[in-house]
């Protein structure tokens, strides 16, 4: 049987469905019976959802885009 520590180590594999059928069943079984791990998994999944919204944006000003476009077109013209 999987331990709680195992669950915390395999959470990403479970979440990404990167797990064999048997392993997956064992994982589900533990989580079904252990409310601490149920809470952990719930929080872990929320953490991933949140991270997806956390995407930092690298600000690109219009002028820096213009400059870059010019530079690239120059490279393109060189043989």
């Amino acid at each position: 049987m999987l331990t709680c520590k195992d669950i915390t180590q395999k959470a990403t594999d479970y979440n990404d469905k990167h797990m064999g059928l048997w392993q997956r069943m064992q994982f589900k079984m533990h989580v079904l019976m252990c409310h601490h791990c149920r809470r952990f998994m719930h929080q872990f999944e929320r953490t991933i959802e949140m991270t997806q919204q956390l995407k930092p944006s690298v600000p690109c000003s219009d002028s820096s885009i213009d400059e870059q476009v010019k530079r690239l077109m120059n490279i393109n013209h060189k043989p």
Binding site: T3, D6, T8, R46, M50, Q52, L54, P56, L72, I75
Partner: protein
């Protein structure tokens, strides 16, 4: 679609250049920063652009344009690391345990002793509404080792498939999974600490 864009680039159409710069400059810079650090990331991106433009003809569409461009950025960045002898085991996960949940939260049999606490905030939106939390998460992100931050960026921010990420970074899938898991767990821990403080 992408093939069309490539042809326009090869024909030297300004609109096409504007489009790839708008689409990829930000993510290229982010990736370069994660691999080589802020100081020389700009240079690496410029190098990568040169290489992208010069090898456009060779783009065969076997991967997406995004994956292809990011692979070039990653190669340029890693070459740079090697030159500066900083590449020591970049992305090597063999020396770290799969889980970042502190071992002292478990009893010797591997069951929780210090159990996960209740989180006040119910949804990701509620969590993100807390300024303190955002600050702590930013800090945690900055403190992550470069390889972990890179994989988190590509997987969770950009939503790229694991296969593409392994291609871009040239590391094995098992390594990248360990690194991703470690990064995600670190963020979980950051929230957990704050929600239970």
């Amino acid at each position: 679609m992408e093939q069309e864009l490539i042809e326009q680039l090869l024909a030297g159409e300004e609109a096409a250049f504007r489009q790839i710069v708008t689409d990829y400059q930000g993510i290229m810079l982010q990736l370069a920063r994660n691999i080589v650090g802020d100081a020389i990331a700009d240079e690496v991106v410029q190098e990568a652009w040169v290489s992208v433009i010069k090898s456009l003809k060779k783009f065969e569409g076997r991967s997406s344009l995004k994956t292809w461009i990011l692979t070039i950025v990653s190669n340029c960045a890693k070459t740079r690391l090697r030159k500066e002898a900083r590449s020591v085991a970049w992305g090597d996960a063999s020396d770290i345990e799969a889980s970042a949940v502190s071992p002292d939260r478990f009893n010797p049999k591997g069951f929780w002793s210090n159990t996960p606490g209740h989180w006040q905030s119910a949804s990701p939106e509620q969590l993100l509404a807390s300024e303190q939390l955002r600050e702590n998460l930013d800090k945690s992100l900055q403190q992550l080792p470069g390889a972990q931050r890179t994989i988190l960026q590509l997987r969770d921010f950009e939503g790229l498939p694991m296969d593409d990420i392994c291609k871009i970074l040239q590391i094995s899938e098992s390594n990248s999974r360990v690194l991703l898991h470690r990064a995600r767990t670190k963020l979980w821990q950051t929230i957990d600490e704050l929600e239970n403080s």
